[in-house]
Symmetry: C2
């Protein structure tokens, strides 16, 4: 196994950390949406102005992807991650628009050793994204599978 900075043991319940500065651009909003979510209020500034939302905003899936990139750069690429079975809840709290600079706060809510695969643990995180003005943009809560540094230890 490659040597990582962080293993399952390194995320303690209650710990809070903040990462990232991801600048959202008009070009990237349109490029992502053209590929994956071509609703007009995500792809066309003029049509967005006439829509219920009033101006161009990012697809929620694009916001999710940007949050994932902040998570990767913030700690996950240095972590012995083993994937995730899904996301328990994603809330898009407010539209993400060009000029927003996103950061993500990670809270560790729960952790346990896998019963069926003792080489790994399961850790539940809440990731909250805000812009540079402190406006809540997105919350996602989910469980990640992370390799244990010492699979022979107890519940750490």
């Amino acid at each position: 196994m490659a040597d990582y900075k962080y293993y399952w043991e390194d995320f303690a319940v209650g710990e809070v950390a903040t990462f990232g500065n991801f600048e959202v651009t008009r070009e990237e909003i349109i490029a992502f949406a053209s590929e994956y979510d071509p609703q007009p209020f995500h792809t066309d500034e003029e049509l967005a102005k006439k829509s219920f939302i009033g101006s161009l905003c990012a697809s929620g899936w694009h916001t999710s992807a940007m949050v994932m990139r902040i998570i990767c750069d913030g700690y996950l690429l240095d972590t012995a991650g083993m994937g995730a079975p899904g996301v328990e809840e994603s809330k898009w709290r407010a539209p993400v628009r060009p000029g927003d600079i996103l950061s993500v706060t990670r809270e560790c809510l729960d952790r346990r050793v896998s019963k069926s695969r003792p080489e790994m643990g399961l850790t539940t995180f809440r990731h909250s994204a805000r812009n540079q003005h402190g406006e809540d943009k997105m919350i996602m809560t989910g469980t990640m599978m992370i390799a244990r540094r010492d699979p022979t230890a107890g519940e750490g």
Copy 2:
């Protein structure tokens, strides 16, 4: 308001429909992951082979985005959609790999008129993605806001 094919009234609880044929390619898996989820098992075939997952697979966020594109092409671009507050649950059931051809089955689970905004309704859908061999790949359950054709009517 633009004229759409489908309004809130057109989605009946219990209705089931299937859409799409989205072919997943190695190039797109790597391109998406390089931008938004650069964990090595999503960006590099050789490193993926040596990883816990054994071969290159799509980021779960990429799978979510591909499912959204199938939803858009299948019905949402013809629907008076007004966004979504989030996703109640996303489950990535199995890795999505190059050569998978994804389709999505939509089940309408629940619907109601918004109390605060009577011009729209809220409809809960479960979208299940499978590949061409019928393997379950992803389930997402969430509520969409959809404009009503006739906001003066009762609960439709």
